[in-house]
Symmetry: C2
DNA sequence: GTGTGCAACTTGTTCATACAAGCTGGCATC
DNA sequence: GATGCCAGCTTGTATGAACAAGTTGCACAC
């Protein structure tokens, strides 16, 4: 898996274009060849090229406006969904040495929020795991996760120092994360947070609460991750082209109270 | 005009589907009609339907797997970053009364970071604006923005209580924001932050630093927004198909020669 | 030299079709 | 009754054509 783009032609083309941007062949600000040229060069139809460039646009690498050639917006490599959901994969890609330690695994009734997020009956049992994660030996994140009952046996069998729980679940039980939702805010460190992350109580932490679903939309876990301030920042790219519907504030904006 | 914005058929269909999901006609977990059925119902081709459902999928409302019908993942409209680009728009959609006040407008040389982000020569002049934003009278955010010189005149002409600076820029000068990049982390409140937001010093704040570009990739502004903890949470949805978010290591764990 | 307008170019949207790949449910078999 | 297989359904990928809408640069007029 990894770098194998598999059987889709448009993924191949997207990867090639991505590489040519990363390598500097198409520097930032440069204009890409037209879709017709790319289609001819790759011997595919324009629709296929559009899928490829659409993918790169959604990654924030290139931008487009109707009538003008596409331009290169940035040169950086973006991480995939897997790396977003997996602290371990992201850290390894960064070249950091990552280590984890599960501090406790308890089976207990779900809290009201956990039950709601996971879509289980209130009071159902969940597996609650507290984990500390380190980068280069330094503790940077406390992770408190509630796993639904149907994945709990897999998690219960893992060693305390397992690096990636989601990876292990995927390998051992074939359960793969497909959809994620993240809620990001700031909280003050509690006493347990402070002790585990070696910061003062009430110091600022970046909190990422996170619901993971399978491809079928079945919840797997509900997580509360707290990062030490300064250790991690989240980065989001967006463009008006990627979300045409939200760009309703166009030329003749009706500034009325209506949200439409 | 009304609902027919002269725009695209697929946007119309996407909006109709979105409404039918929001209204509960397609409850969470339900399977949507097949693409062929939708195409027949709307008298369009399957490709057009795919553009519509693809848009909803990118918003996190529905999910899909090859071979299985699309399922509704979520019913409420989430405020993604596409909408969060404009604090004013988001607040109005939430039904809150939003007010803003510019505290200072100063022209000064750009800091090293501002120059780097905005792509101007170090020491170039930028317009630095400090603003407090309130929801229902309560201060929730401090905004510190550096505008590039070529938009500064427009910003300088705005009244202190302008609700949306980006909107005003778009109307008065035709400069429309097209691409954005956001960096999100947590910081402790400085003394100015504490005074303006009426919180204690060193209490946690959610920081959103934000670079805005025109359609042509030309930087407009570099912003440092700080939200009072508990007032807002950022929500990001993603799927294996498109992942707009990534982590970035903070300065403490960055080992590269990134001299920003 | 300057400015305007147009023509060529480029992306956006849509159609109709075809086949590949994966899922579901029912039927046949054991 | 339980199991396995297959046929049909559904989404994913790809083609090629056509027109709409917006951009850019050149040629022409002044």
């Amino acid at each position: 898996m990894g770098s194998d783009t598999g059987g889709s032609r448009y993924l191949e083309i997207a990867e090639a274009l991505r590489q040519s941007i990363l390598s500097g062949e198409h520097p930032v600000g440069a204009r890409l060849p037209s879709e017709s040229d790319l289609a001819a060069h790759w011997s595919v139809s324009r629709g296929t090229v559009r899928q490829a460039v659409g993918l790169l646009a959604s990654e924030g690498l290139i931008g487009s406006r109707q009538g003008a050639r596409r331009v290169v917006l940035r040169q950086e490599r973006r991480h995939s969904f897997q790396q977003l959901n997996s602290f371990a994969q992201w850290a390894q890609a960064m070249g950091c040495e990552v280590s984890s330690l599960i501090l406790s695994r308890t089976t207990r009734p779900a809290t009201a929020e956990e039950a709601s997020r996971l879509g289980v009956a209130p009071g159902s049992e969940v597996l609650y795991v507290v984990r500390v994660r380190r980068l280069d030996g330094e503790p940077v994140m406390v992770e408190r996760t509630a796993y639904t009952e149907w994945v709990a046996p897999v998690v219960r069998a893992l060693p305390d120092d397992v690096v990636s729980i989601m990876n292990s679940i995927a390998e051992n039980a074939g359960i793969v994360a497909h959809y994620g939702e993240h809620l990001i805010d700031a909280v003050a460190a509690g006493s347990e947070d402070a002790r585990l992350l070696r910061v003062r109580r009430a110091s600022p932490l970046l909190r990422q609460r996170h619901l993971t679903n399978t491809a079928a939309g079945r919840p797997i876990e509900w997580t509360d991750d707290r990062y030490r301030a300064g250790s991690v920042a989240f980065s989001v790219s967006n463009s008006a082209a990627a979300a045409p519907l939200e760009r309703q504030a166009g030329p003749e904006v009706t500034r009325g109270p209506s949200g439409e």
